[in-house]
């Protein structure tokens, strides 16, 4: 299969996968839980269609791309915000703790993202235009931040005894793969220049196809079942223990108000 044919096939698979996900979310009612996710795939369908009808060298293509790319980035940010909300959905008691964790993760993600934008790559091969370079850097920065944010959020929340719904676990894993592969694609393009663009685009499209079909097959209404909170202790025993821990909590509150010598 030639490079062009492979690329077209992947574009078709992306379009097909996006359409099927939107239909599945709509028909199963999951769109109510995943509103941004549903809206993103509804947007993806026309966003995957227009490049098939426009010449890559035309001005219309360029302006449509420049307009659509920031919209995609805004969708990415909203998608991760939705994921954060879904992770803490079953845990009302963790709203404040979750907010602290979100601030910490956000600070870490922005710091890492800024650090990755510092190096200036100077390849010998021709580069994309300055305007597109800025757009690529923004894309890389945002996607790195989002991937690191998800990772830090999970790392900090994993210290709490919480259990995630299967669909949320699927979302977190696929988002990470999706954003990190995109970050890597932009980075490789920056390092190798225009000479590598076709190969990188094909590789990125393959990962995107895998991600989209993973969402398509792994997200299901059954995956929305709320986790069972098994504690390994009898309810009566647990009740007494929790009462004691409430007392411990009050004690801790008092301790924190006193000066530790």
């Amino acid at each position: 299969m030639s490079g062009g044919a492979l690329s077209s096939s992947l574009q078709f698979l992306l379009l097909l996968g996006s359409t099927l996900i939107a239909l599945k979310l709509y028909s199963t009612g999951l769109r109510r839980q995943y509103q941004i996710f549903f809206a993103y795939f509804v947007f993806r369908v026309p966003n995957s269609l227009w490049p098939l009808f426009l010449s890559v060298h035309s001005k219309v293509y360029f302006y449509t791309f420049v307009f659509c790319e920031p919209v995609v980035l805004i969708f990415y940010i909203l998608l991760v915000r939705e994921l954060y909300r879904l992770v803490l959905k079953d845990y009302s008691g963790l709203q404040t703790a979750g907010r602290y964790i979100m601030y910490l993760s956000l600070a870490g993600a922005v710091a890492v993202s800024i650090l990755t934008l510092i190096p200036k790559f100077t390849p010998t091969t021709p580069q994309i235009s300055q305007g597109l370079g800025v757009l690529a850097a923004t894309e890389r920065g945002v996607e790195t931040a989002l991937a690191v944010f998800i990772l830090l959020l999970l790392a900090l929340l994993s210290r709490y005894p919480i259990q995630l719904r299967r669909n949320v676990r699927v979302q977190a894993t696929v988002y990470s793969v999706f954003f990190l592969s995109s970050t890597m694609a932009v980075l490789v393009r920056s390092v190798l220049g225009l000479g590598s663009i076709d190969a990188v685009n094909v590789a990125y499209s393959i990962v995107s196809v895998i991600s989209i079909f993973a969402w398509l097959f792994m997200l299901s209404p059954a995956g929305e079942t709320a986790p069972q909170r098994r504690t390994g202790a009898g309810a009566e025993h647990e009740e007494r223990l929790l009462m004691q821990l409430e007392g411990l909590n009050a004690a801790l509150l008092r301790v924190s108000r006193q000066k530790v010598g």
Binding site: G93, T96, L151, T173, L180, M184, E246, R254
Partner: protein, 176 residues
């Protein structure tokens, strides 16, 4: 090429880390890390020896003895540091179990426990700073410089225990 390999390695490591974390959070529930008996037994008494384990009085006494050598002092310091680290590990384990128990209270709560989240984070930060400071002081002590004071860390437990007994006195005997 080296740069690309490095980028690919970092990306793969991040993906692997995400998968591990997601799997960890998909387990079939968590057992309570503490029992009612354990809370009843919660006592700082077992950490009392820590308070005087690195006391300079012992070193001064050793120096005053006939036949004292620097090797003897060095050996005593090394042994004391080893024992102290054992106590510190136990103290840290107890602290983590209390923290985990409090996290369980938060996850089971039907309403937001912002009060508990703040206290827990504050206490954890204090404890981390305290243990880090102790580790640095232990290194200095090992080389004959400075002293180590664990009163602050142990006092947190002491107050917690005293407060707990006054807050839930009836629950303790029935739990045993």
């Amino acid at each position: 090429m080296i740069l690309l390999t490095a980028i690919a390695t970092v990306v793969l490591a991040l993906i692997a880390a995400t998968v591990i974390l997601v799997r960890k959070m998909g387990g079939n529930g968590h057992s309570l890390p503490v029992t009612a008996e354990w809370i009843s037994d919660l006592s700082t008494e077992q950490y009392r020896p820590m308070l005087r384990l690195l006391d300079t009085t012992d070193i001064q006494f050793l120096r005053s003895q006939p036949g004292y050598t620097r090797q003897m002092e060095s050996q005593l310091r090394r042994q004391r540091v080893q024992v102290f680290r054992g106590y510190l590990r136990a103290l840290t384990a107890d602290f983590q179990r209390v923290s985990t128990a409090l996290k369980i209270v938060m996850t089971h709560s039907e309403k937001d426990r912002g009060d508990l989240a703040s206290v827990l984070m504050h206490q954890q930060l204090l404890f981390i700073c305290g243990t880090l400071s102790l580790q640095c002081r232990l290194i200095l002590y090992r080389w004959g410089l400075g002293t180590v004071d664990v009163t602050g860390l142990v006092r947190i437990f002491d107050r917690m225990r005293a407060e707990l007994c006054t807050l839930v006195p009836s629950a303790l005997p029935s739990a045993a």
